[in-house]
C-alpha cells in the first residue's frame, strides 16, 4: 500500500521538498475520494483544507441565483485545489465539484498554518509554491478576460 509520504513526495506540487518538511506535512494529510457530481467545497464555507488532486477532474464554479452555474476552470491530476486556507478570513470563494470520480489528498489548513508558523522555512517554501500557482492562475484569468476568441470590434 502506498504511504501518504510517498504520495505527497510524488505529487508535482511537493517535488523537491526537503524530507523533514514532507514528514511534517504528512501529519496534516488524509486520503479522500469524491463521487462524480459531489461538491468538494462550497462558496462561503470555512476554508480549512486544500487538495492535491491525484486522479479525476474538478470544476470550479461560480453560482449566481437564477442562473446556471458557470464553470470557470477545471482542475486535473497533479494540480492543486484551494488556497483560501492561507488567507484570512479563510472562506471559499467558489464551489468545487468533482466532474468525475476524484481521488485526492486533503491537507488540513489549521494544521498546515500551525506548522508553517512553527517552522518559517517550511512556511516560506510553501508560500513560494502557492505564489507560483496563484500567478499562473492570475495570468490565465487575464487571458480569459481578454475573450480572445470573441468577435473583434474597433
Amino acid at each position: 500500500m502506498e504511504t501518504l509520504e510517498r504520495i505527497l513526495s510524488a505529487h508535482q506540487f511537493f517535488q523537491g521538498l526537503e524530507p523533514r518538511h514532507l514528514a511534517l506535512l504528512v501529519g496534516c494529510a488524509t486520503n479522500v475520494r469524491f463521487a462524480a457530481d459531489e461538491f468538494m467545497l462550497r462558496t462561503g464555507a470555512e476554508a480549512n483544507q486544500f487538495f492535491l488532486i491525484r486522479e479525476g477532474k474538478v470544476a470550479l464554479e461560480i453560482n449566481a441565483p437564477g442562473r446556471v452555474p458557470i464553470i470557470v476552470q477545471t482542475l486535473h491530476e497533479n494540480e492543486i485545489l484551494g488556497w483560501s486556507w492561507l488567507i484570512p478570513p479563510y472562506h471559499w470563494h467558489f464551489d468545487a465539484r468533482a466532474v468525475k470520480p476524484t481521488r485526492a489528498v486533503a491537507l488540513d489548513g489549521k494544521c498546515m498554518r500551525t506548522k508553517c508558523e512553527a517552522d518559517h522555512d517550511l512556511g516560506y517554501e510553501l508560500l513560494k509554491r502557492f505564489a507560483h500557482i496563484i500567478e499562473e492562475r492570475l495570468q490565465q484569468t487575464r487571458l480569459q478576460l481578454l475573450d480572445v476568441y470573441g468577435t473583434p470590434t474597433r
Partner: protein
Amino acid sequence: MNAAAANCLAPRPCRIRRVLRESHDTFTLELHAGDGIDGFAFKPGQFNMLYVFGVGEVPISVSSDPTRPDLLLHTTRAVGVVTQAMRRLRRGASIGVRGPFGTPWPIEHATGRDVVLIAGGIGLAPLRPVLYEIAAHRKDFGTVALLYGARSPEDMLFRRELQRWGTADAIDVFATVDRAMGPWPGHVGVVTGLIPRASFDPMNTVAMICGPEVMMRFSAAGLRQRGMPLDAIYLSMERNMKCAVGFCGHCQFGPSFVCKDGPVFAYEHIKRLLELREI
C-alpha cells in the same frame, strides 16, 4: 506587370457545392474540381483569396485535405461585410478563387519528430490540413498533440473530427473552452493551460500555432517554458491582405509582407514584432 503576375490577380469563377454551418458564426464553403477549376493543389497553411462578386475579396486559409485536390474547403467566421455576404451564398452560386498563396506549415521539418499543434478559435481551420497530412503519414511522426481552445462548447469546430483524430489517428487531442455552463464534461481554462499536460520531447518537437495574436504569444511563451527552442516554433499570422502577392503593401508586418513571406513565420523571426504595441 507580366502575364504571370496579371494571371495571379485574376479570380477564377467556381461553383459552390455546399455551405456547411460549423457554429453560430462560422461556416465552411465546399468547392469541387470540375465546377470551374481543374484541381486545387495547395500546401497546408496556404490561403486563397475568395471574391464575392460585387462585394469584395478576402483571404481565407484552406481547411481541406491536401491529399484530395478534388475538394477545396474554406472555413471562416462571418465577421465583416464580405464574409457575411459569403455566408449568404448557396449551392450553385459562383465565387471567385485566386491562389493558393503564402508559406506553408513546416511539415517536412517535423518529420521524425514530435509535433504540437496549438489552435485557438477559428485558428483550427488553417491547422486542419496539417492534421490530415499527419494522419495520412502517421508513422512518419513521433507523438502528436493537438491543443485546441475555443470560447465556449458551442463554438468548438470540427467536433466529429476532433474525436476521430484522437481515436483513429493516435493524436493526443486536448480541447478546452474559456467558460462553460451546465453539464459540460470537458476542460475549462485557457489553451495555454494545456501545454504542461501534453506529452512531447521539447528538444525534438516542432510546434505550429494558429489563433489570435495574444493567444499565440502566450502559447509560444508556454512552449519556451517547457524548454522548446525558438527555432522549432511556427506561427500563422493574420493581416489585411489585398493583392496576396506582395505588390500592394497592405499586409506589411515589419520588414515582411504576410501574404508572401507568411502567413506561416518562424517564431524566432517575428518574436520581437509580436511584443511591440505598434509597428
